[in-house]
Symmetry: C2
Subunit: 314 residues, 2 copies
């Protein structure tokens, strides 16, 4: 039987990880290259192809169903990376086309959060869930919407940008240029800023290197009983609960999955989030929609998600 494997590629600002994936969510082989090392797209694509050929040489090209890629600002419709702020190649990078020309394999590409949502659907806790929302809580807040078993791409490939839903039009400045976007509050950077604000209010001293701290610091402080850190989790959870309750009014998902850094904070985040979520739902939805931590493994999700693009292919 042919086509037993898929190549899953996770392109990040720093690293590109290439994995050989089977249908049972096993990553059989993995290699890595430095994304920012290559000044031109061509040089990057040359090296990427060399890595792919190397990783598939033991199984043979005829056993490979295709190549799935998760990338910042990846557009499923065009197969291009479009104006990604954290990559050095500007404008449109037609990556799927460039790889197809060189490798003669089907190539599909989407953004990171969409790929992760697909990973949850194919390999994770959403195998039997037709309608769900997948939220990644990282530096920012990413999301993928699944409706009736299909990822929502929208007319131009840029659906599912819940991190940029505006909560406070006069709120915190966001990277997108607007103010008060969800991700300026509910993300690693967001909760750090909230903690600094509460700490200042309570005259709690901050370490000198506060610019280099990570969200884990707020978590550790909360566990240690720091009032500002506890309040920061309370505030973040409440706001996220409201935002997620609002999202139910769009697509009425059965489950909302949370993934990444902040979602590991357990009850510190989930308790206030769950309470506010229930409060702000329509009465007919109360008690019926689950907020769950993703079942995917942190280190593998991007590759598995990217691979899912190909397994899903008709």
């Amino acid at each position: 039987m042919t086509e037993q494997f898929v190549v899953g590629i996770d392109i990040g600002g720093t690293n590109t990880v290439i994995g050989l994936v089977d249908k049972y969510a096993r990553v059989l082989d993995k290699t890595c290259l430095k994304t920012q090392h290559y000044q031109t797209v061509d040089a990057y694509v040359d090296e990427l192809c060399a890595c792919i050929l190397n990783i598939i040489k033991n199984v043979g090209g005829e056993q490979i169903k295709g190549i799935g890629i998760g990338a910042p600002n990846g557009n499923f419709h065009t197969g291009a990376i479009e104006h990604a702020p954290n990559l050095r190649w500007k404008g449109l990078v037609p990556l799927a086309k460039l790889l197809e020309e060189r490798l003669h394999l089907p190539v599909l590409l989407t953004n990171d959060a969409n790929a992760a949502a697909l990973g949850e659907m194919v390999y994770g806790a959403a195998v039997n869930v037709k309608d769900f929302i997948f939220i990644t809580l990282g530096t920012g807040l990413g999301s993928g919407l699944v409706v009736d078993g299909k990822l929502v791409y929208g007319h131009d490939g840029f659906a599912g940008e819940l991190g940029h839903v505006i909560l406070f039009p006069d709120g915190r400045l966001c990277g997108c240029g607007n103010r008060g976007c969800l991700e300026t509050y509910c993300s690693a950077l967001g909760i750090m800023q909230t903690y600094f604000e509460f700490a200042q209010k309570h005259d709690i001293a901050l370490p000198e290197n506060k610019e280099s701290l990570e969200a884990k610091y707020v978590y550790d402080r909360a566990i240690a009983g720091d009032l500002a850190a506890l309040q920061a989790f309370e505030f973040t959870g409440e706001l996220l609960g409201l935002a997620l309750a609002n999202s139910v009014k769009y697509t009425s998902p059965e489950v909302i999955f949370l993934f990444g850094g902040l979602s590991s904070a357990g009850d510190l985040l989930f308790a206030p989030m769950q309470k506010s979520f229930e409060k702000y739902l329509l009465p007919l939805h109360r008690g019926k929609i689950k907020l769950l931590k993703s079942a995917l493994e942190e280190g593998k999700v991007a590759i598995l998600g990217a691979a899912s693009l190909i397994w899903q292919m008709k």
Copy 2:
């Protein structure tokens, strides 16, 4: 050729309108009964069946493809009207099943706004639009989401409740029990209340019968140059523009259609709405997503929309 016609039924709190519809959006025959006149569901269904049989007798049952129904709190998945606050029959009314048993024709049912969205897709300006949002601005605010050519029902049939997206958690009390829902501001009732508040602030006298006024009054006052009425449209348009920009971040529609009362206010509503919409979009969406008045005829939309349920049927 058989199956040239569909029966479209619009169930409202006051009237039930039954129409015979062909594929060219022509309502060939129409009849009406008083929804609230019937104490029991059975008595209502008996009379409804009599009306349907009467309206199809000239073409013959074998020419009827099915019966489509738009109803308050209509659930496509279950075919039932579920806990509709403005109907006298409480709990679940399995209307599709009751009609199928009596008439032996396929019966599909959904809520009013979803039906209108389908009407726009089958008969209106969305014939070639695969991703759009349909907003009805009536007493409240209803909505239907269309993704990749299909209406979004969600896991339980209650997707597309944009009127209950919460803008201000401490805002105006909504019929759903929460506060600050979109429809408490952007609807006929919403703009009336906004007008009263602005009028009070500017010491503008209100007529004694202010409780019985309709939104048309605010429109007439704005045309006459009443400052409070002009500000009420400005405020409503700005808020609606923000809410619609946020909705783009969910499903990235090509067009958002607006329908009903307030959408007829022209530039008074559209100018501030369009401006705020563009402002709050992601930069990559600016100038690319259309806000349009629906192309459907006010008096026919509900019947045509309900009929579309059947034309869409596989």
